[in-house]
Each structure stands twice: as structure tokens, then as C-alpha cells.
């Protein structure tokens, strides 16, 4: 969600003008199903797995992914996959350079020590949000492993970070904007309001 924040807050503020529908809601659902299968395959099940959605775009995706995982693993109510949400505002490296405010309260009500944590976000761009998230996770325990699932990887990485599970690789220009919602994935531009 870092990307949307960056564009929507002054001085860059503007309106999102959609240009092309890249994925439909059904495409997104199928991608989540595939990612869920990949997670189970890679980790030999989902027993030790927890999901953490990044505020705010990653949170609904994390919940959807958890439901899908439970369905394909045939999990009962007792072995629900824990889902948390993480706001990385206090860990960002651009504090003081632009307005950085938390969007929502972090909610991780379980210990991460020894768990395989799958971070979930909607769009992977520069990688700086994920860098901040990795720092934040340290404060909640020592995870056995951290993996990254994103709906869209749009490139332009500024840090050595790569996703483990990707809904769609989407080549973009730097100044474009990718919007992920429950209506699918839309590519567009931010246009300044005069």
C-alpha cells in the first residue's frame, strides 16, 4: 500500500485514472488458489504457517489466502491458520522525508518464534515496505522463515528483495499506478488535481 500512500498524500496528491483492467476479480481468486497450493507444496503443509497482511492492501488478501489454505488442507476449526496484520509506518526509511502515518493498528496476537511467516501484500514495487516489515517482524519473535506473497510484482526494486509467490508479474513504468481491490487489478495513472 506504500505506493498508494505515496501518490495520494501531498505534495503528490492526485486522482487515480484507470487505463486497463489487468486482472479481473476471478483472475485474482484463481491466483490466490494457486498461491495457496504453492505455499502448501513449498512448506509441506500449512501446520506451522502464519499469514501476516501488510496494512492496508495486504490484509484482505491475507484473510482470503487463509480461507483458501484451510479449504485445500481440510483444516478444522482447531487448526485455523493464524492471520495477523502489520503496519510498518514506524519502521519506514523515509520517515521525515514525507508524511508517514500509520493507517491502522498492528494486530499480531501470536508469537512468531519458530513459525513460517508468509507476508502478504497487494503490490510489490521498490521493496522498501517489505524491508520495513522484516524489521518489524523481529520485534514479534524469531520466525523460522519469512516468505513473501504478492498479488502483483510491478518491478523497479531498490533493494535485494524478491517475492516467493506472485499473482502476476506486471511490467510497469515508474510513474504508473497499480490498484488492487476486490474488483481486480487495474493499471492507471495518477493525475494531479489542479
Amino acid at each position: 500500500m506504500a505506493e498508494r500512500e505515496r501518490y495520494l498524500t501531498p505534495p503528490l496528491g492526485g486522482v487515480f485514472v484507470p487505463r486497463a483492467q489487468v486482472m479481473t476479480a476471478d483472475d485474482c481468486r484463481r491466483a490466490i488458489t494457486r498461491i495457496a497450493h504453492e505455499i502448501v507444496e513449498r512448506n509441506h503443509g500449512s501446520a506451522n504457517t502464519v499469514l501476516i497482511g501488510l496494512q492496508t492492501g495486504g490484509v484482505p488478501l491475507a484473510h482470503e489466502l487463509a480461507e483458501t489454505l484451510q479449504r485445500i488442507e481440510g483444516a478444522t476449526d482447531e487448526d485455523q491458520i493464524p492471520v495477523g496484520s502489520l503496519d510498518v509506518a514506524f519502521y519506514r526509511d523515509d520517515i521525515g522525508l514525507r508524511p508517514v502515518l500509520p493507517e491502522a493498528v498492528t494486530d499480531i496476537s501470536f508469537d512468531l518464534t519458530g513459525k513460517t511467516v508468509v507476508l502478504v501484500d497487494d503490490v510489490l514495487f521498490t521493496g522498501r515496505t517489505i524491508r520495513a516489515a522484516l524489521n518489524a517482524l523481529n520485534d514479534y519473535g524469531r520466525a523460522k522463515a519469512v516468505q513473501l506473497a504478492v498479488m502483483v510484482d510491478r518491478g523497479h526494486r531498490e533493494l535485494p528483495i524478491r517475492p516467493d509467490y506472485v499473482g502476476k508479474n506486471l511490467p510497469t513504468r515508474r510513474d504508473e499506478m497499480v490498484d488492487v481491490s476486490d474488483e481486480g487489478v487495474i493499471l492507471g495513472d495518477m493525475v494531479a488535481v489542479k
Binding site: 503496519d87 514506524f90 520517515i95 521525515g96 514525507r98 508517514v100 498492528t106 520485534d139 514479534y140
Partner: protein
């Protein structure tokens, strides 16, 4: 971009709400096993206290440390103030060391405003209590504590009881509570009210027994014996008889009504010892929330790039 926090009036209702919203995040941070975030790494916060304080100074320092800022403490008794250094020279000396925020408490009203004019544009000044004037972070933590239990302050009835005249807490609280839509009744003997209440959006009562059963919150103020230079009261015992929250009066409170006190308490004067341990007495909760509120204020001023006022 920086600003100062000198008065609740600078914030307005929107500013107070924004501080409350950010405080939610810092309450979560404070509840963790490792209650520390790197948000203000490399920033330096100085507490410049010309007046005694336990909770406010420690609270600000804890808040700064939990944000990974460096802290410096200035206490008058061990400083060059004893050699006659003026306030302005002291501020300039501290500023020259390279600081980002200065938390000021002084016995004279207006000192934080004065300091704000002296420091460079990129230094934030936070008022931690100036004379009888204001104590904005106390009012913010009071609002947060009430909101935590009652969800909102809108249409709530709050009685502020005691030494209104000498109380900076009362001034900031009146501004903050009424900005958020609460109705405020001041309860005090005439000698402990300010000479004029013109422009204060409050009711006044001299009868605590009549007020207690009607309110959602009783906010007790400390009897400030160190500020009482004239004989304003016949005796403390008489004050307690008329204006203390005794066990008998506390029994008249509505179910769920809250009792707050900014501390330090004079047990047995404005509040009975038994009342301090009632479940709806939130004095220690106020202290805990104080750290989170001050983290929010420091983050908003120093880290967020947003402007507070």
C-alpha cells in the same frame, strides 16, 4: 516540517482526534514484548524541567526511548542555572548541541511560547506544563483514557473538581473535553475558581453532592499547596468535607462512571484512599496511556512529516 505543541487550542478537535488515532498504534507498540520502534532513530529530545516532576518527565523520556530517540535531561538543581545562567542562554546552549525537540516545564506561564521563538525552525517545543496556563499532553492522555472506556467524549458530562484556579491541567482539560463535545462542570469553592470564567464553555457548581450522581466522569485535581500563597481555604479537612471524593460520595456515582486524577494524589484530601482502588478509578491507566500519547505527539512532531497544528 516541524511544529510545536504549546496549547490544546493549537490542535482543535481534528488535531486531538489525530493524536488519539496515532496513540492507538503506540498503545499496541507498548503492549509488545519489545516495546520499541526505530521511528525516531537519530533524533534527540531534551527535557528542560524548571519545576519538579516525576511522571511527566519520566513519561516523556520513556516515550522518546521507545521511539529510539536519544534523550537528554536537564534538571535545574544540578545545572549552571545555579550559577545564574539565564533561560535564554540555557536554551541556546542546549540547542547548539544539536537537538530536535525540547520538552519544557516552567513555573511561569508562557515560557514554552518564549522558548519556541528562540529556537531554530527545525526544533519542536513541547509544553509539559507552564505555571497556571496549560499542560496539553496531560489533557490528551485524559481524553484518550476516557475515550478508551466510554468510546467517545461527545455528550458526556465531566465534572472537574478542586483547585481550578491554580491548575494548568484544568485549563487544558476544559479546552480538550469541550472541543470533543463533552459538557464540563467545574466544582470548586469560589476562592479556588479563576477570577473570571468569561469565555469558558462550562457550568459552575459549588455542591459536589449534587453533581456526583449526574456525571459520567469525575476529574479530581490535586490541592496544590505549593502554589497557595494566600489563605484560600479554612482548612484541608473542611475542603475534604465539601469537595473530596469520599467513599460516601463515590457510592453515589452512576454505574460505570469514571474517576480520574492527574497525580500526584493527596490521599485523604481530594480523594479517599479506598476510592483510588475502585475498578473505575483509572489513575494508573492514565499514566500508562501517557507514554503512548507522548509517543504519538513526538512522532507527529518529529517523524511523520505532518504538521500538528
Amino acid at each position: 516540517m516541524t511544529g510545536h505543541l504549546l496549547s490544546i487550542a493549537d490542535l482543535g478537535a481534528d488535531g486531538i482526534e489525530e493524536v488519539m488515532r496515532i496513540t492507538d498504534s503506540f498503545v499496541e507498540v507498548s503492549s509488545r514484548d519489545i516495546p520499541k520502534v526505530p521511528a525516531l532513530r537519530g533524533k534527540t529530545v531534551v527535557s528542560l524541567f524548571y519545576e519538579d516532576s516525576t511522571r511527566t518527565r519520566l513519561s516523556f523520556e520513556t516515550a522518546a526511548k521507545r521511539l529510539s530517540a536519544d534523550t537528554m535531561t536537564f534538571s535545574v538543581s544540578t545545572s549552571s542555572v545555579k550559577k545564574g545562567e539565564s533561560l535564554k542562554d540555557t536554551v541556546e546552549t542546549i540547542e547548539a548541541m544539536g537537538i530536535d525537540a525540547v520538552v519544557v516545564r516552567h513555573k511561569s506561564a508562557g515560557v514554552p511560547q518564549q522558548v519556541a521563538q528562540w529556537v531554530a525552525d527545525d526544533v519542536s517545543v513541547i509544553n509539559a506544563g507552564d505555571g497556571w496556563h496549560e499542560h496539553p499532553t496531560q489533557a490528551l492522555l485524559d481524553c484518550y483514557t476516557i475515550r478508551e472506556r466510554l468510546d467517545t467524549l461527545e455528550h458526556k458530562h465531566i465534572a472537574i473538581v478542586g483547585d481550578i484556579k491554580h491548575s494548568r491541567v484544568a485549563r487544558s482539560d476544559v479546552l480538550a473535553f469541550t472541543a470533543l463535545g463533552a459538557r464540563v462542570t467545574l466544582v470548586a469553592p469560589p476562592t479556588l475558581l479563576p477570577p473570571s470564567l468569561e469565555g469558558w464553555p462550562v457550568d459552575v457548581s459549588h455542591d459536589l453532592d449534587e453533581v456526583v450522581p449526574k456525571v459520567d466522569v469525575v476529574y479530581l485535581l490535586r490541592m496544590q499547596q505549593e502554589r497557595m500563597t494566600e489563605a484560600l481555604l479554612p482548612s484541608l479537612r473542611e475542603y475534604t468535607a465539601h469537595y473530596g471524593l469520599t467513599t460516601r460520595r463515590a457510592a453515589q456515582l452512576q454505574d460505570g462512571a469514571l474517576v480520574l486524577h492527574p497525580g500526584p494524589m493527596n490521599r485523604g484530601v481530594e480523594i479517599a484512599a479506598e476510592v483510588t482502588s475502585m475498578p473505575n478509578t483509572l489513575i494508573t491507566r492514565q499514566v500508562a496511556n501517557g507514554v503512548a500519547v507522548r509517543m504519538a505527539v513526538l512522532f507527529l512532531l518529529l517523524g511523520s512529516g505532518a504538521s500538528l497544528a
